[in-house]
């Protein structure tokens, strides 16, 4: 119903390092603050904000998973931040009946033109990642804009022309750049670390990439410590020899 561009000049997106993310939610709240308070996407409402069932619109959330290996190795905990992945084949765009959902030709960002959004929710159904949220107060669909009002905003210092979530991430687990440029820092990071697509079987060709957790609990090859040999006087013998050398 709404066409995707055949290609985009750039493919801006995020690279999220699951080996480094500690699940602190800094990105979640920085996103909320910026996009509710200062960006055209806002406000992002919070209903029943101090009540029994608080429910707010967030464009980025952290999910925590526990993985229990079948082979008896230690259980793992993975913190998994998730926002719109700005897919090349974005089903949320093609399903949109009004053209409100769009993928921008110049940079590949998937956006919602709220003036045209009728809040039908089809795009949220079509997104396999659950990355869109219908704001009940605005009645329109909200989603990650990659802070498009920051990244091209000449009023901001150049170093701040990055998404709010990337700017704030304390552990440095979030990276932003052009994934269409194989020489970009993010592309190199993806190559080095074996960055992966989320749910590739959905054939959405997401722009955002995840760097998988490195293997854990690897054996360090240092030899186990041996007690000092008794025939050389044990500990006291070692002490005397060592002191003599100092």
């Amino acid at each position: 119903m709404t066409a995707l561009p055949a290609s985009t000049e750039r493919a801006l997106g995020l690279v999220i390092d699951l080996d480094t993310c500690v699940g602190c939610h800094a990105c979640v709240v920085a996103c909320k603050e910026w996009n509710s308070g200062s960006s055209p996407a806002g406000p992002l409402s919070d209903t029943d904000a101090y009540g029994a069932r608080p429910s707010g619109t967030f464009l980025n959330r952290v999910h925590t998973f526990e993985a229990v290996p079948a082979d008896g190795r230690q259980p793992r905990v993975v913190h998994f931040p998730k926002s719109c992945l700005h897919c090349a084949d974005a089903p949320c765009v093609t399903v949109c009946p009004t053209g409100a959902s769009l993928k921008r030709e110049r940079d590949g960002i998937v956006l919602v033109n709220e003036d045209d959004c009728i809040g039908c929710g089809l795009c949220a159904w079509a997104c396999p990642y659950g990355a869109r949220e219908l704001d009940p107060v605005a009645g329109t669909m909200k989603k990650c804009t990659l802070c498009e009002d920051r990244i091209d905003n000449l009023a901001l210092p150049e170093e701040d022309r990055i998404p709010a979530c990337v700017r704030t991430c304390p552990a440095g687990a979030r990276h932003f750049g052009d994934l269409a440029d194989p020489e970009s820092a993010v592309s190199r990071l993806v190559a080095e670390r074996g960055g992966i697509d989320l749910m590739p079987e959905q054939q959405t060709r997401p722009t955002n990439k995840y760097l998988p957790p490195r293997s854990r609990d690897v054996d360090v090859l240092a030899p186990l410590l041996e007690p000092l040999p008794e025939e050389a006087g044990g500990f006291l013998g070692w002490l005397d020899r060592t002191l003599a050398r100092l």
Binding site: V22, G37, Y50, V68, P170, R216, V220
Partner: protein, 945 residues
């Protein structure tokens, strides 16, 4: 541009923002206070409204980043739980019924209560502060008032860590030291949850990850930092000390220790009196000039330790009639003991012996096969020049997980011992102090407790005792302080014991108090052990109906649970509306390479339309001091010396030329650390982004306790008045002196009932013993602990519309095997029983968890009616506190605390659990209190423009 945080609900019309013309926001740089990390923040402000808060890129603590709490600061600032006027209680305590009064009336009441106390019984004011970051002021104020009953919250926070660090190394973890993030190859975290020093830790972990350094986390629970650790060791709570001493055992038995470091930088060679009949038993042997002695094998006699290059480290010697041994010989006797072998300790620790063997091997390999050498000459305190700086790239960090146990002090000591035998403290790649640390015990005050009605106390209340003669006890050996700090029950309680104040005051032990004055401390809820009964103590009356604690003054910014128990409430501002100084005299924000202090300033003017309004607590305290005519706060004519806290920050001098703020001192503003008060000082801080940084010279960056350039620099900027070089104390003599007293030596003798406990706990070399309340482990086999979430700080987060959506509930997490054996299903509740009480709470399964441990997030549960939450908010209906299960007093009548420092032993808790069907709400449930603030809005739509 208007801030359209739309408050649709009733009674909030006064908070509606007027329409104002569009104005571009201005950036005002101040210091965050969403936790104790104290990052620099850029607050974008227009028309006295916050548009946006982000990290200050130039700030040395957070370098531009900001955590979830920091970014949610705007919701804290706009919280509907903000107090808006002084309050006088009208209903019974705990009802939440108040009337709003004027500041004049409030201060008049406070003066009427406090003035007669000061004239007659200054000790009957108990002034305790919670998350106070102005202890240099509050402690001074209490001293000028004349009460000995002052402390901040360190007693239930982490005095074990502070005291063990200061007594051993002259500095501690927490925010007072840091790993050498740029160089370390191996970081081991012990019991570190996502709190102090939160953003620097996250930044640092990111650096280690980026360059492939290893991170190992020792923690019963695998969340947060433990989740990304290369190795997780899911230890059983309370056994870290055993694991650490087993590592010490392995390193010693294999000769993998840095002997040269121990000889040069520690008291390894000092001789210890080993004659049990000697009055000096356990103390160091000294010459007539007081110099510690070591054994010179070449001359066959004891000589001043500084005069012998190769002292004896083993054996025993007779010096006159006294048998002595070097500290290192005592260490070898203690730690070569096969009882510390991995195979012996592993079952108690809940880990495999092999894990300990591998960890020891990795420590030794990293430390000794990968030393770091910096081509950076330095000169030691004896004047000897060294061409390089050599270090061992093993770093450690530890937090409450090891500290909040009744064996926590000795466990923290054990960890420092491990660091020291590896030669990793203050060396490249290791652990580094942050100014004003290193600072030896000798540079700290002793506790003061001499009360004279109508006059100031004889000195600061808190300090570091050197021996039994420094205790705050009366002639009969009974505690002089209301919290029993510095008594035989907890001799080295350097931060006081706030957690015992209410219980002791209600019992009148050692005497009743008249006014309990609390600042920012939620003692009626999550900051007390035994919460339900603590509430009872706050409301208990004598036969005539008078409250056992007759008068309670609470200063806070928000409608906390404690506010409802106050008779008089002094409403504080939010952190964006106030002056503060983050001072080198207090808890600064320094980094290893720089001394740093900072300010807060009112980037927003406080507005509470339609109400009397709020005032910064520190200014109110100074105002009270003037009304009480306290020395130092009024001049000879009784006039105020300081206009307000901001004026005090600039003009107060602790020593000539040294005041709360180090930056831009002197009349021309060129002095750092020293110099006359500069009236333009705050303006200079504001221009500079809210902080001042004084860089440690490169040659002074490591080996600080013995580095002449560091010592000279520290004197230059006013940290010390003279150089304070010292050696690390493997063996701590003040502990030995208390131990000797317990064995019958000396004029100051403990009660007989405490002798055995003191003799064991005050061991001068680190030991491990089981947590003191582990008396019935068969009936209560499960450990129950809490952990602080990264996105919530204490109880503050619950009022935050954004953060409470992240942590609105706190199930009890149950390890997989236990979950299955007890037949739990999702949605169930558990009945959790301790020897003290029971709770019934929702559960969830977690497998990355020590199999004998259950846990939950700290301080999520709320009392209905508090914090401006709806009474049916999940925090109140499903959230819960473990605190109810933890007694503040053990069956022995002693506090549930570490016997050395008095640190509250929260994490000693043991329980049994059983599955029960889901209940409507967590138990115990508390009746709803009336909210002293207007109802919160239903809908929030935060909008800056």
């Amino acid at each position: 541009m208007r801030l359209a945080t739309e408050f649709r609900s009733i009674r909030h019309d006064s908070m509606r923002e007027p329409d104002v013309p569009d104005t571009a926001p201005e950036i005002r740089r101040t210091t965050c206070y969403m936790c104790a990390c104290r990052c620099g923040i850029d607050v974008h402000v227009a028309e006295n409204r916050v548009h946006h808060i982000e990290g200050n890129r130039a700030h040395p603590v957070n370098r531009g980043v900001l955590c979830a709490k920091g970014s949610a600061g705007v919701m804290q600032h706009l919280s509907p739980a903000r107090l808006r006027a002084p309050l006088r209680r009208t209903g019974p305590r705990g009802s939440g019924e108040f009337r709003e009064i004027s500041w004049e009336e409030a201060l008049g009441i406070a003066v009427n209560w406090l003035e007669p106390i000061r004239e007659q019984h200054p000790e009957r004011l108990a002034f305790f502060t919670g998350r106070d970051q102005s202890q240099a002021l509050t402690g001074w104020w209490a001293q000028q008032f004349g009460t000995l009953n002052y402390a901040a919250h360190g007693g239930f926070c982490s005095v074990n860590m502070a005291a063990a660090g200061i007594y051993t190394m002259g500095g501690a973890f927490w925010e007072f030291g840091a790993p050498d993030w740029e160089r370390t190859r191996l970081l081991i975290l012990f019991g570190v949850a996502e709190d102090h020093d939160s953003n620097p830790l996250k930044i640092g972990l990111g650096k280690l990850k980026a360059r492939g350094a290893r991170v190992i986390s020792v923690n019963p629970i695998r969340t947060g930092y433990s989740a990304i650790a290369d190795q997780w060791i899911g230890i059983t709570p309370g056994t870290d000390g055993l694991l650490i001493l087993s590592l010490v055992h392995l390193l010693l038995t294999s000769g993998k220790i840095d002997l040269a470091y121990l000889m040069r930088f520690t008291n390894a060679a000092w001789l210890v009196d080993q004659d049990p009949a000697s009055p000096g038993f356990g103390s160091f042997l000294r010459d007539s000039e007081g110099r510690e002695l070591a054994w010179d094998p070449a001359r066959h006699r004891a000589v001043p330790a500084a005069d012998v290059a190769r002292p004896a480290l083993s054996g025993g010697f007779n010096v006159g009639p006294t048998h002595v041994k070097p500290v290192f010989a005592l260490m070898a006797e203690a730690y070569l003991d096969p009882a510390l072998a991995p195979e012996a300790v592993a079952p108690a620790c809940g880990i495999e012996p092999e894990v300990i063997h591998r960890l020891a091997a990795e420590l030794a390999d990293t430390a000794f096969n990968h030393p770091i050498t910096l081509d950076r000459p330095w000169t030691d305190h004896c004047g000897k020049r060294h061409e390089t700086m050599v270090g061992r790239p093993v770093a450690m960090h530890a937090m409450r997980g090891i500290a909040a146990h009744s064996n926590g002090f000795q466990t923290c000591r054990a960890l420092h011992l491990l660091q020291l035998i590896l030669g990793t403290v203050e060396t490249p790649g290791g652990f580094r102090f942050e100014p004003p640390y290193p600072k030896p015990v000798s540079a700290h005050p002793k506790p003061h407790h001499k009360v004279t009605p109508g006059y100031p106390l004889d000195g600061p209340q808190l300090g570091y005792p050197r021996g039994p003669e420094d205790l705050a006890i009366d002639a009969d050996g009974r505690p002089k302080r209301i919290d029993h700090a510095f008594s035989w029950e907890a001799p080295l309680s350097a931060h006081g014991m706030m957690h015992m104040v209410i219980a002791n005051a209600a019992r009148g032990d050692p005497y009743p108090i008249d006014v309990l004055f609390l600042y920012m401390a939620n003692m009626a809820w999550n900051s007390s052990m035994n919460t339900a009964q603590t509430i009872g103590m706050l409301t208990a009356t004598d036969a005539t109906g008078v409250y056992l604690i007759p008068k309670i003054i609470v200063a806070d910014s928000y409608s906390s649970e404690m506010v409802a128990y106050a008779d008089l409430v002094l409403p504080d501002t939010t952190y964006l509306e106030r002056h503060d100084c983050i001072s080198l005299l207090d808890r600064p924000i320094s980094e290893p390479d720089a001394a740093i202090d900072a300010i807060r300033w009112p980037v927003i003017e406080p507005e509470r339309p339609g109400a009397e309004g709020v005032r910064g607590f520190q200014s109110v305290l100074l105002d009270l001091g003037v009304r009480l005519k306290l020395p130092g706060m009024v001049d000879a004519n009784g006039k105020a010396i300081y206009r307000d806290y901001a004026d005090y920050m600039v003009r107060h001098q602790r020593r000539p030329g040294v005041g709360p703020l180090m930056g831009w001192r002197g009349e021309d503003g060129t002095g750092t650390g020293r110099g006359a008060p500069n009236p333009k000082q705050l303006a200079r801080y504001i221009e500079a982004g809210g902080f001042h940084i004084a860089h440690v010279p490169e040659e002074a960056a490591f080996f600080k306790p013995w580095n002449r350039a560091y010592q000279d620099w520290a004197v230059k900027i006013g940290i010390y008045d003279t150089p304070q070089p010292y050696l690390f104390q493997l063996y701590v003599e003040p502990l030995a002196r208390f131990q000797a007293a317990a064995l019958g030596h000396g004029p100051h003798q403990p009660p007989d009932a405490l002798r055995e406990r003191l003799a064991r706990a005050m061991a001068p070399l680190p030991v491990w013993y089981p947590p003191l309340s582990d008396t019935d482990t068969d009936t209560y086999p499960i450990h129950a602990i809490t952990q602080r979430p990264a996105a919530m700080y204490h109880s503050w987060g619950s009022q935050n519309a954004w953060l409470r959506q992240i942590h609105g509930e706190n199930p009890l997490y149950i390890p997989g095997a236990l979950w299955e054996s007890l037949g739990f299903e999702p949605g169930d509740f558990a009945r959790v029983v301790s020897p003290h009480a029971e709770i019934r709470v929702p559960v969830a399964r977690m497998d990355a968890l020590n199999p004998a441990t259950v846990w939950t997030w700290n301080a999520i549960g709320k009392r209905p009616g508090a914090w401006s939450l709806a009474p049916d908010a999940p925090e109140a209906t499903r959230g819960f506190l473990l605190n109810h299960l933890i007694p503040e007093t053990l069956p022995t009548g002693l506090s549930n605390s570490d016997p050395v420092t008095g640190q509250a032993a929260w994490y000693d808790l043991r329980v049994r659990i059983e599955r029960i069907p889901a209940e409507a709400r967590s138990a115990p449930a508390f009746p709803s209190e009336m909210s002293p603030v207007p109802r919160a809005p239903k809908l929030v739509k935060f909008r800056a423009g």
